[in-house]
Symmetry: C2
Subunit: 191 residues, 2 copies
């Protein structure tokens, strides 16, 4: 009888700390023993914050990020940013790229019933940033990683990108907004 | 003692059937007594499926949908579509528009450190579709609504749009994919 009650008590505690839906949302950064970041999982169900688009057709055929950038942040980290103006330790921000869909104009656009414009084509790569002040003290507390700018499958792990490749541009332009381009993300902008 | 156990049992049941995160995700369509749809809530935390972009600058200054279209579907309805190829009764699909951010080129684009392209400006309206075969039998089971194409605040309620305004184009172009432009949404495309 006493044992039975203890088990019921444990069940209550488990539901309270790990509700089912929250488990699927949560995904702390996972590092390999040699410091590589494992490919984030589940990010397509995080909160979408914005879709910058830099078409190859407007960038001499070689956009630095080809071409749509879909940016995702977990809900609890969005909430924290909206409350405090900075992201919690452990925050992961994922930018998944897609190509534009079958361009028919030189700029990358095409005509569809909704008008002339750009539409999402195939997936084309992932970049991720991780906030971990102890691990990345030299780049304002954030580490930068790329799993390739190419169609699926993406790399399984990624070593930290050099300052020249990623962090330098964030430090130069968005150090005041926790290293993140919130000016392009309507739900975060202006916080 | 017996009462105490009953209360514990009830707590377990509540957590099991209504986990906290799922409650915030769920949002059935709500209609007023005269058949208007209430403005959907919480959609910015649904699953983002794609961002078509029809800039005013590429559409004689008057895009039908100005300008980014951010499209959101609830997770359970995405799952159902991926499994069955059609959306469940009650599915709501929201398309939230944003303008492009401060254009400096005639096409609506601007230069940023990531390249020349388009970036999300201010929110600019909401359209929604609701699958309800009994309520909308004449338009393949879907109702179409717009809460305005303008900056916040959006309309609180919307009457069903006419066939000419919305459903007609969906019937003509995407009747075979449950009235939805899945060809522009990478995670749904090809199902």
């Amino acid at each position: 009888m006493f044992t039975g009650m203890a088990i019921i008590g444990l069940s209550v505690t488990l539901f309270h700390t790990q509700p089912v839906a929250a488990q699927t949302e949560r995904s702390m950064a996972v590092f390999t023993p040699d410091g590589k970041l494992e490919l984030p999982k589940g990010y397509r169900r995080w909160v979408f914050v914005g879709a910058p688009l830099t078409p190859n057709g407007l960038n001499n055929g070689k956009a630095g990020f080809p071409e749509y950038h879909h940016v995702y942040v977990e809900a609890r980290n969005v909430d924290a940013y909206l409350k405090t103006g900075s992201f919690p330790e452990g925050t992961v921000i994922v930018k998944e790229l897609t190509r534009v869909l079958n361009p028919t104009f030189p700029d990358g656009s095409r005509n569809e019933p909704s008008g002339r414009g750009f539409f999402n084509g195939e997936f084309n790569g992932i970049d991720a940033t991780v906030k971990d002040s102890k691990r990345f003290p030299k780049t304002n507390g954030w580490g930068f990683f790329t799993f390739g700018h190419h169609p699926l499958p993406y790399a399984e792990t990624a070593a930290e990108s050099s300052v020249d490749e990623c962090a330098g541009c964030h430090i130069a332009n968005v150090a005041k907004t926790d290293m993140t381009w919130v000016q392009f993300y309507p739900i975060l902008r202006g916080k």
